[in-house]
């Protein structure tokens, strides 16, 4: 008897676009293949070149390095609607996706993402393969929020958004009427209602979706699993004043907050102000340190894509980098294999995101390499990093508070070692795969039982 087949659908392939979710999805596919119980197939949205070109004339499909079970799906000639997340010409679903599903005949379809592909693809799975269970991993808040799924409002100084409503969403996007936002939600929920099990990588994110309208019993909390890494060599006793940032240079990631904090910590800047500001609420250790120039905290920024940000943000970041030349080094783009070396160079990993976050992969990475994390005290970040157990929290979007916390981290003797000791074991991909295989098995059994009843 052949193995049941599980189809992973993803919005991109790491070979074309190395985003966190794409990298994770491919790792999951490989882990599932290794585990051996299921035969995984990976289908990612991907076109040739930047012009959304097809791989061959007359088909939307292409291969990845000649592999048998990995496919790329181009949407050449199709238009993706960013409000509803749908491809407007339904032939994409009723012909291209339909034919693929019939050819591959998966027993389970596990959506990793539907951006660029459209929520309608879920309906097409139900149409073509009515009995096949559908799993959907919720990576961020796209269904809830038009603003890149970040739930950061465009109004009131980019305040964090607690919940959607037609009127609130219209405030963020004055060109889209409240009625359109109502229709958008109904449209997305119509398609998501066909999903059997949702997976949420954080309890916080799960809660948000339950509030939004997905039945609680349908969403399970399941952390992303990571490939194991070799532990870094112990570099002995020393000051722990090296900080690292890993991620895109984007506004919602809060890079500007971190650079502002570094300005306050600069040797000739207003470090004194920062510590003064920090003292009332900070622990006594912060003020006791010797602020000699030789012992200044330093930040290494690892990341790219600044050129993709709005011009005003690029200028802001550039001017911050100029002003913090002495204590900030822009390292630039990195690939996952660089990580051991880069992590070795830092003591702390800072996650200054100004959005709720889903389950930041960078926290898992930091923990895997034994680096305590300093993060904004909100959302999924506080769920993953416990204050004063394995990291430190600061007030979101508050450079002064971040500077205070960083000063403390750099100067408080023994703190780093203490927090490093509190880092939990990282959830491995093997355990994750085992859990997911259990979910798939359960769904297939449920399907068989359902068929038996009728």
């Amino acid at each position: 008897m052949s193995k049941p087949r599980v189809l992973y659908v993803c919005h991109g392939h790491p070979s074309l676009r190395p985003g966190g979710a794409e990298v994770y999805a491919l790792e999951l596919y490989r882990g599932m293949r290794e585990q051996g119980e299921f035969e995984p197939v990976f289908l990612a949205k991907g076109s040739r070149g930047s012009g959304d070109l097809p791989w061959h004339p007359g088909t939307q499909f292409g291969l990845v390095d000649g592999e048998a079970n990995q496919y790329l799906l181009s949407a050449n000639g199709y238009h993706f609607d960013w409000l509803y997340h749908t491809i407007t010409d339904k032939q994409f679903y009723t012909r291209d996706v339909h034919e693929f599903l019939l050819a591959v005949r998966p027993d389970i379809v596990h959506f990793q993402h539907t951006v660029y592909l459209g929520y309608d693809m879920i309906l097409q799975v139900k149409n073509t393969l009515p009995e096949v269970p559908i799993v959907y991993t919720l990576h961020e808040y796209y269904p809830i929020c038009r603003q890149g799924g970040h739930m950061i409002r465009t109004v009131r100084n980019e305040e964090l958004c607690e919940r959607d409503s037609p009127e609130r969403c219209h405030e963020c996007f004055p060109d889209v009427s409240p009625q359109m936002f109502f229709m958008r939600k109904r449209f997305i929920q119509s398609h998501l209602s066909l999903v059997d099990v949702f997976l949420a990588p954080s309890r916080f994110l799960r809660e948000r979706y339950v509030e939004w309208g997905i039945p609680a019993e349908k969403i399970r909390f399941e952390e992303y699993g990571r490939q194991p890494v070799s532990p870094l060599p112990d570099d002995g006793e020393r000051r722990r004043d090296r900080f690292g940032y890993f991620g895109q240079l984007a506004s919602f990631k809060g890079v500007h907050v971190l650079l502002n904090a570094m300005k306050l910590l600069a040797p000739h800047g207003s470090e004194a102000t920062a510590t003064r500001a920090g003292r009332p609420s900070g622990p006594a250790a912060a003020g006791d340190s010797d602020p000699s120039p030789a012992n200044q905290p330093h930040l290494w920024v690892h990341g790219a894509n600044l050129e993709l940000q709005p011009g005003s943000y690029q200028n802001e970041i550039r001017s911050h980098l100029e002003a913090t030349k002495e204590n900030v080094t822009l390292v630039g783009r990195y690939v996952p294999t660089d990580l051991p070396r880069l992590m070795q160079n830092v003591d702390w990993v800072v996650v200054p995101s100004i959005w709720w976050e889903n389950s930041p992969l960078v926290i898992q990475e930091a923990f895997a390499f034994g680096r305590p994390v300093i993060c904004s005290g909100i959302g999924a970040m506080v769920e993953k990093v416990s204050d004063r157990i394995n990291g430190l929290h600061f007030r979101v979007n508050d450079p002064v508070d971040l500077a205070r916390v960083m000063a403390e981290a750099a100067n408080a003797p023994g703190l780093w070692e203490q927090l490093r000791g509190g880092i939990p074991p990282v959830y491995g991909i093997k355990d994750h795969v085992k859990t997911l295989a259990g979910v798939y098995r359960e769904l297939l059994e449920r399907k068989l039982a359902g068929r038996g009843e009728t």
């Binding site: 679903y93 009723t94 149409n127 409503s165 409240p178 109502f182 109904r186 119509s190």
Partner: protein, 644 residues
């Protein structure tokens, strides 16, 4: 009247009782006179000038020989010069010859017979010119030298004799010929100049073609030298319409201020608005004039702007002129309302160009869901995304009616894709032209297969499945039911509709439509009571097809999707039916997304007046019957005091 008309065609003023001048018998030796000029005005329309002994205003039977073929025709003639002392009675005359066929237009006639028997005359090649003239040559050599009054009579004759040919396919060519004649013959008056010292001035602000021969004009005329004695609209074809007695006069404070005029009786109303019907259709854009004269003998002509012909723009122009000042009511009643009525008639009835079936139609549907589409078709996808989860919809007969022909290609391309993805069977009917909400709905109803109709707007999304079956069950269980409507909600869960009632607006005194509990929360207890109501909205209305047909469907006299529903409910009530509100069925109505609110206000104002105009006493009776329903809206202060 007839005598008068005939007199106008006899320059000698004596008139000809028979309309036909004594002539020599047609069968005599040679014809009485000869034909000197011939020209084709348009297809099958010949203008003839000659010196003949027959003529007059009456219609004569006629025939023309063209290429050896006898073409039947009728003719109408007029003498243009005074009777001379010739014993044979021969005089200069013009004839318009209307051939039965336009096939040989442009050919040179080889023979012409005007009239029959003793009163007729026949002209052979010897009495006919060998070539055709052009129109201006013919006019220059015959009637152009006449005095102004005679030329004016000739123009009136031309337009009256060619009136039939201003309709139909050759109408535009006829119009152009008449315009050339008018320009060659008309007496030009001084052009209106706007200056403080001019004794007579005027301006036309708006001019709209309501129908082929109906027009609406708005402007002002200021005479500082005695009252106006004549205001005449002249079409490019030369058709004249006397407006002075018809004009609706209204205040134009800006014009008053400029001319600093006042009267003993107060401030004169210098502005005017007027809907008028011309005697003949007009097709041309340029050339309309207003001629005006006052008691002191001042005369002017005012250039009229090109008529607006786009029906929606015309309608909005008309509605924008309605002021709700009671003093201006006559403008509405005598001018705007008849014009709008004419416009509405222009649009209908709907002609279905194409009906496409998508998916397998349900075998025996109980309900036909009729959904008109106007301006936007993206709602179809949104409805499909909801209908897909409701098996009852796939058992119903869903009919979309596209009332935006310009979107036809897009809609018929999108529909099969949506049908394939969502697998909800439906039909799409495309209309030939935009006819408006009521006619589109009626067209959809004419396609219905179900015994019940559900009129549904495209911007309605059900809250949850099962709503249609509940409506059917309630409808069938309620004797003498008229229309049935559910609760409709806005996107923020406030009530849009929980039944419809009428209230008398304080300012205008008109009965207006309103929805119970509009804007309040969907859980409001009184909104959750199923009950009989004065009416329900057409946005989601169930009614038996038979009853709908008996009443003739939605009325076409209201403008653009407003008040047709309450009008139907009133007709149902008049027929002894009861309209019901069903509280436990809830749908969302995302109303008014793309409709400019300014236009909406104009349209609603007109419709409200029209409904009130037709139904006021009956609405009063209906509201008396349902007054207990109003009391829920208004606090019962005195009643409560009495009870305690």
């Amino acid at each position: 009247v007839k005598t008068k008309k005939q007199e106008r065609h006899s320059p000698d003023g004596k008139g000809h009782r028979s309309g036909i001048v004594n002539g020599r018998p047609a069968h005599g030796a040679g014809a009485p006179g000869r034909i000197e000029h011939l020209t084709w005005l348009s297809d099958g329309l010949l203008l003839v000038a000659g010196s003949v002994a027959i003529g007059g205003a009456s219609k004569l039977s006629a025939s023309v020989i063209l290429r050896g073929e006898v073409v039947g025709a009728e003719a109408e003639g007029t003498f243009y010069d005074a009777a001379q002392d010739r014993p044979d009675g021969v005089r200069g005359a013009l004839f318009v010859v209307r051939c039965d066929s336009g096939a040989l237009t442009g050919k040179i006639p080889e023979g012409l017979a005007l009239g029959a028997g003793r009163a007729g005359a026949k002209f052979g090649p010897a009495q006919l010119p060998a070539k055709l003239d052009d129109l201006s040559t013919l006019l220059r050599q015959t009637v152009a030298p006449l005095d102004a009054e005679a030329r004016s009579r000739v123009l009136q004759f031309l337009v009256s004799a060619t009136r039939d040919r201003l309709c139909g396919s050759s109408g535009l060519r006829t119009s152009r010929a008449l315009f050339r004649a008018r320009e060659a013959l008309r007496e030009r008056l001084p052009l209106a100049e706007i200056g403080r010292d001019t004794p007579l001035a005027g301006h036309v602000d708006a001019f709209a073609a309501v129908g082929p021969s109906s027009f609406y004009i708005r402007g002002w005329l200021a005479s500082t030298a005695g009252p106006l004695t004549r205001v005449t609209a002249v079409s490019p074809e030369g058709c004249r319409a006397e407006l002075l007695d018809r004009l609706f006069h209204r205040h134009r404070p800006d014009v008053n201020a400029f001319f600093a005029v006042s009267e003993d009786g107060g401030i004169p109303k210098l502005g005017f608005g007027c809907y008028f019907e011309a005697d003949a259709p007009s097709h041309l854009t340029e050339g309309w004039l207003i001629e005006a004269a006052n008691a002191c003998g001042d005369e002017i002509e005012v250039v009229v702007p090109d008529p607006v012909r786009d029906l929606v723009t015309v309608r909005n122009t008309l509605l924008a002129d309605v002021s709700w000042d009671p003093d201006d009511r006559a403008l509405l009643v005598d001018h705007v309302a008849p014009a709008v009525k004419q416009l509405q008639r222009q649009r209908g009835p709907a002609r279905i160009k194409k009906v496409a079936q998508y998916g397998t139609p349900p075998p025996d549907p109980a309900v036909s869901i009729i959904i008109p589409l106007y301006g936007r078709i993206d709602f179809v996808e949104q409805q499909m995304a909801q209908f897909v989860h409701d098996a009852e919809i796939s058992q119903a007969d869903v009919v979309y009616v596209l009332d935006s022909p310009e979107l036809s290609q897009t809609a018929f391309a999108l529909a099969p894709q949506l049908a394939q993805l969502y697998r909800v069977p439906f039909r799409l009917a495309g209309l030939e032209s935009n006819v408006g909400y009521s006619e589109a709905t009626n067209a959809g109803a004419s396609l219905a297969h179900g015994r019940l109709l559900l009129l549904l707007n495209s911007d309605i999304l059900p809250d949850r499945p099962g709503w249609l079956g509940r409506m059917v069950a309630f409808h069938d269980a309620t004797p003498e039911i008229g229309a049935l409507g559910p609760k409709l909600l806005y996107e923020d869960d406030s009530i849009q509709h929980a039944g419809l009632f009428f209230y008398r607006e304080a300012q205008s005194g008109l009965w207006c439509n309103n929805h119970y509990y509009k804007g309040l929360h969907r859980t409001l207890p009184p909104a959750n009571v199923t009950r009989a109501v004065p009416g329900v909205t057409g946005a989601c209305m169930m009614i038996s097809l038979e009853l709908y047909r008996q009443l003739g469907g939605l009325s076409g006299q209201y403008v653009q999707g407003d008040y047709e529903d309450s009008d139907l409910c009133l007709r149902l009530a008049e027929a002894g039916r009861e309209n019901w509100y069903l509280a436990d069925v809830e749908l969302y109505h995302l109303e008014g997304q793309s409709y400019p609110s300014q236009v909406r206000r104009l349209v609603a104002g007109f419709n409200r007046w029209l409904q009130d105009h037709q139904w006021s006493p009956f609405i009063e009776r209906v509201m008396l019957k349902y007054s207990s329903n109003i009391r829920v809206v208004e606090p019962e202060r005195p009643a409560r005091a009495k009870h305690t």
